[in-house]
């Protein structure tokens, strides 16, 4: 039989096609028997990262539990677009109570299951970044601290999207939102604010914490699967682009999710009992500019009246992550801790990942002041 070798780099996405894998290694979504926990017909925008992430994550939970699962959802886009009364997109038992209490509602369900001797039924709590790290923070921390048997998934689109794109504690610096307008001397969200929820989750020393993006959905599935192998509190923070809120093209959702990781702005890692256990390395490092430019929420940083110094500050944040999580195999000198030889020349590797091409443009840039 003729055998055609496949190069994984051919697709430009590093994704291995399911057909090349063993049956048991294939993605949950490739399974015709998958639950479709969040099924078609919902009202999410085209290219909604949250809808995508939720579908993959919850189907992976369904697979891990044999469908014995219950979900508690915070108020937010995911809740609103999935359940326009009297319709629902959920094929799992699902409850929405309030904006800020999803982790506690999940705890209540888990307690009920335990009391009834139904520990085989597992509980998922979920919400947006606002519902998770801002208004739901107290309930989430309490759930973590008690180590309640709940997997909590945060779909981070970096603002309050459901109410019209206002700033949340997850909104990144310089990003324009409806409450951090692109006006004044420092347009967009300020620097030096916001919280790093995955690290806060780790500080609770819960069994499992992971981050993921909707660019690497098999990775997300694998992390959910891993999470379900633990009892106790678990947290997965999924980066989910929001075309409407970010002013990005619907067909750029996956691309942006990939770029954010490849810049280092969003470190993708796993941690168990408070210690980082695995890191997804950056494969081809790219400057933050490439991630920022396609998003209108950063438009004020570019062009004639742009803010190159702000882009540099954002680059510094990415560099800090790269150093902190050792996201590069060969840390460039410029990112090594002070004391080591500092080289000003950094080789960037860049590619337009939205195009299914292996062509790579290699360019050289200088870090530091423009």
């Amino acid at each position: 039989m003729p055998y055609q070798p496949i190069k994984f780099y051919q697709t430009g996405s590093f994704v291995v096609g399911n057909r090349l894998l063993d049956q048991n290694e294939r993605s949950v979504q490739s399974d015709t028997e998958r639950l479709n926990s969040l099924t078609s017909g919902h009202r999410a925008c085209q290219g909604c990262g949250e809808a995508l992430g939720a579908r993959y994550a919850l189907d992976a939970v369904a697979k891990a539990t044999g469908g014995r699962m219950i979900a508690a959802n915070a108020t937010g886009c995911l809740e609103v677009f999935s359940t326009p009364f009297p319709e629902t997109s959920w094929r799992i038992p699902w409850i929405h109570s309030l904006f800020g209490n999803a982790p506690a509602v999940a705890t209540g369900i888990a307690a009920a299951m335990h009391a009834k001797g139904r520990d085989d039924i597992r509980v998922v709590g979920q919400g947006g970044d606002g519902g998770t790290i801002d208004i739901g923070f107290g309930c989430l921390s309490g759930m973590f601290e008690r180590n309640d048997d709940v997997l909590y998934i945060c779909y981070d689109n970096e603002a309050y999207m459901n109410t019209g794109v206002q700033r949340s504690g997850a909104t990144p610096p310089a990003a324009r939102t409806a409450t951090t307008q692109a006006v004044g001397p420092n347009p967009g969200n300020v620097f030096g604010q916001g919280k790093d929820m995955p690290r806060i989750a780790m500080a609770h020393e819960i069994p499992y914490v992971a981050t993921a993006t909707v660019a690497e959905l098999r990775d997300l599935e694998a992390k959910v699967e891993r999470a379900m192998s633990f009892r106790g509190a678990r947290y997965i923070h999924v980066f989910v682009p929001c075309p409407l809120g970010w002013g990005s093209s619907s067909n750029d959702t996956i691309k942006l999710a990939r770029l954010v990781k490849e810049t280092g702005l969003f470190p993708v890692f796993e941690a168990e009992h408070g210690e980082v256990t695995a890191v997804s390395k950056i494969r081809r490092r790219i400057p933050v500019e490439e991630y920022l430019r396609p998003q209108r929420r950063y438009a004020h940083l570019f062009g004639e009246h742009g803010h190159p110094e702000t882009i540099e500050r954002i680059q510094a944040l990415a560099d800090r992550n790269i150093a902190r999580y050792a996201l590069l195999d060969d840390l460039p000198d410029s990112l090594k801790p002070p004391g080591s030889a500092v080289g000003r020349q950094v080789r960037w590797q860049s590619e337009d990942l939205s195009e299914q091409t292996s062509a790579m443009a290699i360019l050289t840039e200088t870090t530091g002041a423009h």
């Binding site: 359940t83 800020g100 705890t107 307690a111 009834k116 309490g142």
Partner: protein, 417 residues
């Protein structure tokens, strides 16, 4: 079995007899002894099959109860005062979702100024939240009402708040006839939810409802409470059959048959009022008391039936509707529409101020002499109030009213002149 026990202990034991499956609570005086008691019962294994969750706030307490109840578990929590306000969003949510959660509120004042003592401001603030509200007069009734509350809640799929006066009841040692497990099991069937989170039959709970159906949904919540007007007396009758005790019901009239003056009140103060009424009856006055056990649903007809033949009704309430006067009064007046009689609102016992027999006698004397104003603040020191009003007229930066009054009272040192 007769026992001389603390009110909180009686309630904790009564809750345990109801076989709750999830208890979640956050401590606040004067509720603490109840949840401590339950925690001990769960931790020692005496209350089996029950999860006790030490939550991080009252908002979480109600939310855990919501999750547990939606998953088909019998859920209980307790709170008071600031704690009740802290959970308000979830309190409304629980009733909106039709979850039969039972909650004890150990009635306490609301700050600021912070005050841990008893009045009814906390639960009165939640009168329109969709929960059934029952007020206990004694610790016996508090224990009994909790057992009835689960039955009522589960039959209607509505949450029930059992309100008992903080400290006055919760911390008082009284004789309580504690029911036994067989009785409670015979009275209270297993919880059979109307809808439940179940992977075998998945449903979505808590979806959005727009203007096309919201009014109807709200009406049905009201309709359920109207049904409760029938159910509450039925459940009390059934209770009497099994436990041999008259407890609960909508209202409790006492010596009202020929009464010209009827005092209306809720909770433990009814005991004091009854004593005063007995004394005045001996002196020949035609006076009686109407205790309201069910404040929500509000038993309009029952109240109207008792008060319609009176000439004067004095409503004594432990909460103040600031900017209006009385909350209970307002409701009672509604029940009396079309009937002319004299009415007084007496605001009493705020922040734990004792309501004494002496004060009540004076109050009723004034009423009898027709000298009582429409809105009266029992035992209020008008002098103190006047002094503070003067101060605020004289200086812009007059400071904290509470602190100034405490200085005038002499509780804290006077300011150097």
């Amino acid at each position: 079995m007769l026992s001389q026990i603390e009110g909180s202990k009686a309630v904790a034991d009564a809750i345990a007899l109801c076989r709750p499956e999830v208890i979640c609570a956050y401590p606040i005086s004067p509720q603490t002894h109840i949840v401590e008691g339950l925690s001990a019962l769960v931790k020692s294994g005496k209350l089996a099959g029950c999860e006790y969750v030490n939550v991080e706030s009252e908002f979480a307490a109600m939310s855990v109860a919501i999750g547990a109840s939606a998953a088909g578990a019998r859920a209980y929590t307790a709170t008071a005062s600031q704690g009740l306000l802290y959970m308000v969003e979830a309190v409304y949510n629980a009733s909106g979702l039709g979850l039969p959660i039972v909650m004890t509120v150990a009635n306490r004042a609301i700050g600021s100024p912070i005050n841990i003592w008893n009045d009814h401001t906390d639960t009165m603030s939640q009168r329109d939240c969709g929960w059934i509200q029952l007020y206990a007069e004694t610790n016996q009734e508090a224990a009994d009402l909790h057992i009835q509350a689960f039955k009522l809640a589960e039959e209607l799929s509505l949450p029930v708040m059992v309100c008992m006066d903080g400290f006055i009841l919760t911390h008082a040692y009284e004789r309580v006839d504690m029911p036994n497990q067989e009785q409670v099991d015979a009275y209270l069937p297993a919880f059979e939810p109307r809808q439940v989170l179940d992977p075998a039959a998945p449903i979505s709970i808590g979806a959005m409802v727009g203007p096309e159906a919201f009014t109807e949904v709200r009406f049905l919540a009201h309709h359920k409470q109207m049904q409760a007007l029938d159910l509450i007396p039925e459940i009390a009758t059934e209770f009497q059959e099994i436990f041999g005790r008259d407890s609960g019901g909508l209202v409790r009239p006492y010596r009202t048959e020929d009464a010209e003056t009827v005092i209306v009140a809720l909770g433990s103060v009814l005991g004091t009022i009854k004593d005063v009424v007995d004394e005045r009856r001996e002196a020949g006055e035609k006076i009686g008391v109407l205790g309201i056990t069910s404040f929500r649903p509000f038993p309009m007809l029952a109240i109207r039936g008792v008060l319609r033949h009176a000439q004067r009704v004095i409503i004594l309430e432990k909460a103040l509707a600031i900017g209006l006067g009385g909350i209970v009064s307002d409701n009672v007046r509604n029940a009396l529409s079309g009937i002319t009689l004299k009415g007084n609102t007496v605001i009493a016992g705020l922040g734990g101020r004792a309501i004494t027999k002496v004060s009540l006698h004076k109050l009723f004397d004034e009423a009898r002499a027709d000298r009582l104003e429409r809105l009266v603040f029992l035992d209020m020191d008008y002098d103190l109030v006047q002094r503070e009003i003067e101060r605020t007229k004289q200086q812009r930066r007059s400071g904290s009213a509470a602190e100034n009054i405490l200085r005038d009272v002499g509780v804290v040192a006077a300011r150097p002149a």
